[in-house]
Point group: C2
């Protein structure tokens, strides 16, 4: 997977070579269709996740720089290790832990110490043991939307980690069904919609990743709403193509979602 | 989970404090019921798995003993680390890799070297990259059984690892459905049978673990067949209770399964 983005840690960052200008990308030619089912991404859509991975990555960089005697750039080497491992490890913190250790070993010529490896592992334990920080407006939005819609959660990642995060989030009861999937591609969405007996024309997916939440859903005839996460890497910021499909929109926050769905669907 | 057996690596070993005497445990008061659906466990039932983990464990012991200057027993400390991590890591090789590293750090007072940690990780990569070795008779047995039965695979473990092993095994096409589950308890089986619209009275589970494959299935009114794996730890060998239920039997190998199901169901 040479062009695979850095997703070994559950990161859903868009990587489409597009640049997004929030000021004008807020709303697009959204089609008016009755939405009955809304699919939600979880990491960085309903709760914070990437922030924690970036913190761990900074701590790893400090450990490595302590050996190399300089500020060693680790983003690219770590990304390379994650890509190399992705097919074997899948997404999640356990694979990220191993990829961090492998990166530390490689960049220090195996001089990284046992104590430092223990610190890397301890960081991951703190992440796995830590609280879930729900995004602003998530509870209010889900509370409002579930009155008129069926809500399902569709998240990539490691089953046990995602189920644990969902349990900690206390958001489980908002969702009719929860899918933890290995990959979010058109086949995955087709299979979920088929199993749930959902007409793609009545389905909207909400998430922070063009690659995982938007494009594959548009590809199977659904609609999709992008809500970019606060710490998406700069070099991954996306621009909407000039021919953005009518089934696609971008919002600034979850709080805008209920009104957008209600107004957008009654207007035009 | 104080009494949880060592299962952080997907091990299904029975741990019921019973002792099995193969010479007399071969067949029990099996009820005659029409079997329409057979559930199969995967690791150590259809393909070898535990053997590889025991090999890695021996290599880890050698690394640790190199530091402690003696033959340090690592089975119990490793098991303790795996148990401690089970709820966070779930089953699978990634969690086992981290637990091996954590054990090495603890038992060597963090003196384990980067090169040794790299060797531990390399072992796990070799395992994940390695071939799947199917148990003797598995293909013939599945080929024969699928003519008259619906077959489903029910395996505990890490989704991406189990799917990868299944793909390598080339056994996928024998099964109508595949379930990779976090835990094999009565609720799990109840949910699967419900979703598949299977009457428990027409369901038989085949596996190597009393704890995961037999007891929970008997508990929900199904039948179950234990086929012990070759390297189950001695201290985990089980004996059938005197009041072994009529819905339970033990066979020596998969090869005995078709005849047992056919004869056992037409006899008595």
């Amino acid at each position: 997977m040479p062009d695979e983005p850095l997703r070994g840690r559950g990161h859903d960052g868009p990587l489409f070579g597009l640049r997004m200008d929030k000021s004008r990308s807020r709303r697009h030619r959204w089609t008016r269709t009755m939405t009955t089912v809304i699919g939600f991404d979880a990491d960085d859509t309903l709760w914070h996740n990437e922030t924690h991975f970036q913190e761990m990555q900074r701590a790893l960089a400090a450990i490595i720089s302590g050996h190399t005697g300089e500020t060693t750039p680790i983003d690219d080497p770590l990304m390379a290790v994650e890509r190399r491992n992705l097919k074997k490890y899948g997404y999640g913190a356990k694979g990220f832990a191993l990829s961090m250790i492998e990166t530390a070993l490689e960049l220090t010529d195996q001089r990284v110490s046992g104590a430092e490896i223990a610190r890397i592992i301890a960081m991951v334990h703190r992440f796995l043991d830590g609280d879930i920080h729900i995004l602003d407006g998530a509870v209010e939005t889900l509370t409002r939307l579930r009155h008129n819609h069926r809500l399902i959660l569709i998240t990539k990642g490691d089953e046990i980690e995602q189920q644990e995060k969902l349990a900690k989030s206390k958001l489980r009861s908002f969702f009719d069904t929860v899918y933890v999937v290995l990959e979010k591609d058109p086949d995955t969405y087709r299979s979920i919609l088929g199993r749930e007996a959902i007409d793609p024309g009545h389905f909207v997916m909400v998430g922070n990743s063009l690659r995982s939440d938007i494009h594959p859903v548009l590809a199977i005839g659904g609609r999709a709403i992008l809500i970019p996460y606060e710490v998406t890497w700069k070099h991954e910021m996306v621009e909407l193509p000039a021919d953005a499909p009518k089934a696609f929109a971008t919002l600034n926050s979850l709080r805008e979602l209920p009104a957008f769905l209600e107004n957008g669907e009654n207007r035009r």
